[in-house]
């Protein structure tokens, strides 16, 4: 059960140089795995398909990947706080799939939980319904939304133990537990890595079994 703790550089080494499909946790940069993001920039992982809640701000969180021109496609709910994404979108330099935030969460959850998709009333009759099936059922009208998965999920946690069990902090939790279960390879960057047993079972939100790699602080490696 024990997980290896690797440096951010070693972790990002496991990600394809081009075209990786990556989920990154965080909400406006809060609860994002900042060391891994820095390393993606340093190692220039290009043509990323990035699945994340929002693009934060220039220089902040996943906003740094956009700044560095590493993102080819975005699947996200909000890009309004990053002017460069707006410009790139309006000029056709980046592909953006805008997804209502709750739908994004449920699509990732569906991918994580082995579901074939979800039915949601959100977006019925709007641009978000374009190209999607609509089901009219006795209890309402719903969009059929497809699951989302990724090659790699980069998540942030308050604490990890060496089994990979994760505990989160307040609003830094957001998409992290969902994404942690929706990728082939999950890398967890915790503020602290603590001995097994330190996190009470009831406090574990993400079971260690879904975490592939623990990312240490660079100097600890």
């Amino acid at each position: 059960m024990k997980k290896r703790s690797v440096t951010p550089a070693e972790a990002v080494d496991r990600i394809a140089a081009e075209g990786a499909r990556v989920m990154i946790g965080g909400f406006m940069g809060v609860g994002s795995p900042h060391r891994l993001i820095d390393e993606l920039v340093r190692q220039q992982r290009r043509k990323l398909t990035l699945i994340c809640n929002d693009t934060a701000r220039p220089g902040v969180g996943v906003g740094r990947l956009v700044d560095a021109g590493l993102v080819a496609k975005l699947i996200t709910s909000h890009i309004g706080t990053h002017p460069a994404v707006q410009r790139a979108l309006l000029e056709g330099r980046i592909e953006v799939e805008l997804v209502p935030q709750g739908t994004l969460a449920e699509r990732i959850r569906a991918g994580a939980f082995g579901l074939g998709g979800v039915l949601t009333p959100t977006g019925v009759g709007t641009l978000a319904a374009e190209g999607k099936r609509t089901l009219v059922l006795a209890h309402g009208e719903f969009l059929v939304e497809m699951p989302l998965r990724a090659d790699v999920a980069l998540v942030a946690a308050r604490r990890a133990d060496y089994h990979g069990n994760l505990e989160y902090a307040l609003t830094a939790r957001n998409f992290n537990p969902l994404m942690a279960m929706a990728a082939e390879l999950t890398m967890a960057e915790a503020e602290d890595i603590v001995p097994v047993g330190s996190i009470p079972p009831d406090a574990v939100v993400t079971p260690g079994m879904v975490v592939s790699l623990l990312v240490s602080r660079g100097r600890e490696a």
Partner: protein, 243 residues
């Protein structure tokens, strides 16, 4: 409508007035709609101002879509926790009894009808009560964030916005901007009026202080029905406000 036309200065956005003052007036009026015990989500921009005007004698619990119920203003300098923020990423506080959760649960609360009220900003509201507030094609595409879920799932949707933009009335016959949802919103509060979308019509239920029914009609592109109670008060020249 037998009264003479209102002076022009009163018919649109009062550009001489500080826009912050206008926004606060709207926020203050919206706050009057909140009830003791309400679970409320405030959208970004103008709606966030509502928190400051919640009547002192009621308890309102603020939900933020990034994963908390029980959010409070930051208690003061030195209380910032980088893991406790509002949906804009700004540091906030949390009340005793607050709880934090992931994004799926956060939107389960929204979509599942567990939220009493949401207050959203608006670009347009039309005669069907449909809100458009998430994009201006070709110009500004911020994304819908949580707005589509909020407009779909909250038990009560209140739109807080200025009555007019530089382009004209934001209360329109039919939204020309992409709508946020087909759900009819419950109330629209602007700097000039309070409007209640009903089945197939917009009912003008209140005018702001110093604003006449005619002023509102002149500033509005959509057809308005006038609440009879308001007409009676208007004829006797009393301008009802709840400030």
């Amino acid at each position: 409508m037998s009264r003479p036309a209102a002076p022009k200065a009163d018919s649109g956005v009062r550009s001489t007035e500080d826009s912050q003052v206008i926004k606060e007036r709207i926020a203050r009026r919206v706050a009057q709609e909140l009830k003791d015990g309400d679970r409320v989500n405030l959208g970004i921009g103008l709606p966030t101002l509502v928190a400051a005007f919640v009547p002192r004698d009621i308890d309102v619990y603020f939900h933020s879509e990034n994963g908390i119920v029980g959010m409070s203003p930051l208690p003061g300098e030195g209380f910032e926790d980088r893991n406790l923020t509002d949906a804009g990423g700004r540091p906030v506080g949390a009340l005793p009894g607050a709880c934090a959760f992931d994004s799926a649960l956060s939107f389960g609360l929204i979509r599942g009808g567990h939220l009493d009220v949401t207050v959203l900003g608006g670009l347009q509201v039309d005669e069907l009560g449909q809100l458009a507030n998430w994009m201006v094609p070709g110009r500004r595409v911020p994304g819908m964030g949580g707005a589509m879920d909020l407009v779909t799932g909250a038990r009560r949707v209140i739109v807080a916005m200025t009555h007019r933009s530089p382009e004209g009335s934001k209360i329109v016959r039919r939204c020309t901007l992409p709508i946020t949802g087909t759900r009819r919103v419950d109330l629209v509060v602007t700097d000039l009026a309070v409007i209640r979308p009903m089945q197939g019509k917009l009912l003008l239920v209140e005018t702001a202080e110093g604003v006449s029914v005619e002023d509102v009609i002149a500033a509005t592109d959509a057809r308005l029905e006038i609440d009879p109670a308001l007409l009676r008060e208007s004829r006797s020249d009393r301008h009802p406000t709840r400030a």
